[in-house]
Symmetry: C2
Subunit: 390 residues, 2 copies
Amino acid sequence: MVVRLEGGVCAPQGFKVAVGSCGYKRSGEPDLCLLAAEERCAAAGTFTGNAFKAAPVLVTMRNIADGYLEAVVVNAGNANAWTGERGMRDAEAMAAVAARELGIRPEDVAVASTGVIGRYLEMERIERGIVEAAGKLDAGRSAEAARAIMTTDTRPKEVALDCGGFRVGGMAKGAGMIKPDMATMLAFLTTDARVEPDVLARALRGAVEESFNRITIDGCTSTNDMVLCMAGGASGHRPSEDELRACLLEVCSELARAIVLDGEGATRFVTVKVSGAADAHEAKLAAMAVAESPLVKAAVFGGDPNWGRVVQAVGAAVRDVDPRGVSVDICGIRVAEKGAPVEVVEDLAAAVSGKDVALEVSLGRGEAEVEVWTCDLSYDYVRINAEYHT
Amino acid sequence: MVVRLEGGVCAPQGFKVAVGSCGYKRSGEPDLCLLAAEERCAAAGTFTGNAFKAAPVLVTMRNIADGYLEAVVVNAGNANAWTGERGMRDAEAMAAVAARELGIRPEDVAVASTGVIGRYLEMERIERGIVEAAGKLDAGRSAEAARAIMTTDTRPKEVALDCGGFRVGGMAKGAGMIKPDMATMLAFLTTDARVEPDVLARALRGAVEESFNRITIDGCTSTNDMVLCMAGGASGHRPSEDELRACLLEVCSELARAIVLDGEGATRFVTVKVSGAADAHEAKLAAMAVAESPLVKAAVFGGDPNWGRVVQAVGAAVRDVDPRGVSVDICGIRVAEKGAPVEVVEDLAAAVSGKDVALEVSLGRGEAEVEVWTCDLSYDYVRINAEYHT
């Protein structure tokens, strides 16, 4: 039985967290977070598929390659992306400063950054933030940490579950440049399960594929996406890989939904389900095409059940699908099938006026299906991204 | 020498046009256009790649298959798309009514529709519009025709050129659901060049590839896209294929630019140039990724030279490109190269404050290059597409 807990990444035994201020947030609020395990522990990560991986992504990929980590340091406000050799040195310095303060090896520290691309970090400010955080590590500060890693997010995202014998906690940030691919924006998970690195890596990959890799806010895959999970083993419980993956998936799904719900300017949560596809790739291609269509998203914002835009997106993505096999349901109401409209007797406009909108398409030519999550496209998305100046 | 002319599609000798009202536009303005050649003439077309081709697209593809047309009938306000067998019968009836009124064969009439997807046409209204238009065909009404085919366009788009011995005229409509692929929204060209159908088809395909197929407003490939060209031969001049393609390209380019300038909510014209790509496919993939990124487009709307979003889009599209070979220029100012930022001494913010914004990326690994055109993402795009109710 899964039981919901307070405490986010500190709900599992053996993890402490604290925040510091580097001065990147105009509000002066903390913008750096340090997450430390009681001892070196099994760790796994998934990372952005973007060709221009940010320096912290490259450093973390290297440091996690042996399957172990002891701490994670995260800053918000500057992505340290597209910063060349100097960016690599800065990311390594972040790990080194955190390691010095914690008395551990730099190779056991993961580094993550989020914010503006193409700016060098000011290392004296980063170091100040790390030193501040290291001085107040505590198992009761997860909510502060989830807030410190935010950029345009409007609320912190954390969750923790007791999965029976072991616990999993997590926090994430999202809001914009969100179309995770092999990873997401930033998410950090902890568990006190006792698990080998390779089992953890497989379980995490599976959980990420069915959660973070199924959301999109604006179709933009970031340079800095990263999901990390550290498994300390303090519970003494050794779950099966399936047990572990199921619990990680539940935490990842909740964080992924929270990212969509807090998407830049989002007013509605949209579930796009595509079934009857020839294979999983086709199902996801079609679902993402609907979820990323600015026409569909603007219609949802306007409360308009404009299913013509849904079929347009599907037909543009899957060029050889026969319309005679396709059907479309909006919030459970059949609106189109066999290449023609269906006369709708229900109040379709009322059905799409709520906070949750479901768009379902069956391609009628196979067994594969997928569900992806997105949000609508509102004035506030434009405002946030037109005003968020570099 | 190319000379600009008045008269749009009627500038070439041998073509007449008129408009009618079917009552689909709330304003009561004409929403149907009939374009008639003096005699059956060589014709070519390019059509949407969307799997769910609208009925008028399917009927026109069939009627143009022999390389000849004598008239085109177009209605705005209802796309006759995703309307199944009944939609096919309606599109055929549009051709039949126009043929009857003009005293020609239905198989020589092309049909085009634009507007809401998933609604059946009301054929008595369409017939009324066709009869009205047929009664007032004239060589001086091209501006009315260019206005009648508009949907969310704010201004008509027409152009005519004297290319030395022969003339080419054209009109187009655009505004939303614009990412032409093998075609565009609707564009109709005429010429009085004397040309065989196969030469016309090759010249048109070449011109479309370098004009309409290089624009995007919202990344959405419509179900109804169509570019048609009729060549009547009244000039008696027989241009070479290259001559013809060059002139068609000039007309298509001007219409394509006009579509982007009048994109839904557009406030700036954005030229995205990608060079140094491994091949033409890669160049266009990268350029379209930049041109379709809502983050890039919102930044341009906000007058923000946010080149980090440009590199993000390129890196997400071309997953194996080495950042050390890549450079980025914004409005001619080098902002990034070799995977790192460049110190900018010019006033970059001032450079992007104009109506025209140029984004240039060199991938540094080949000789292929492409230029695509798009517009920014503004509040008005969201307003138009949230309020344009079905």
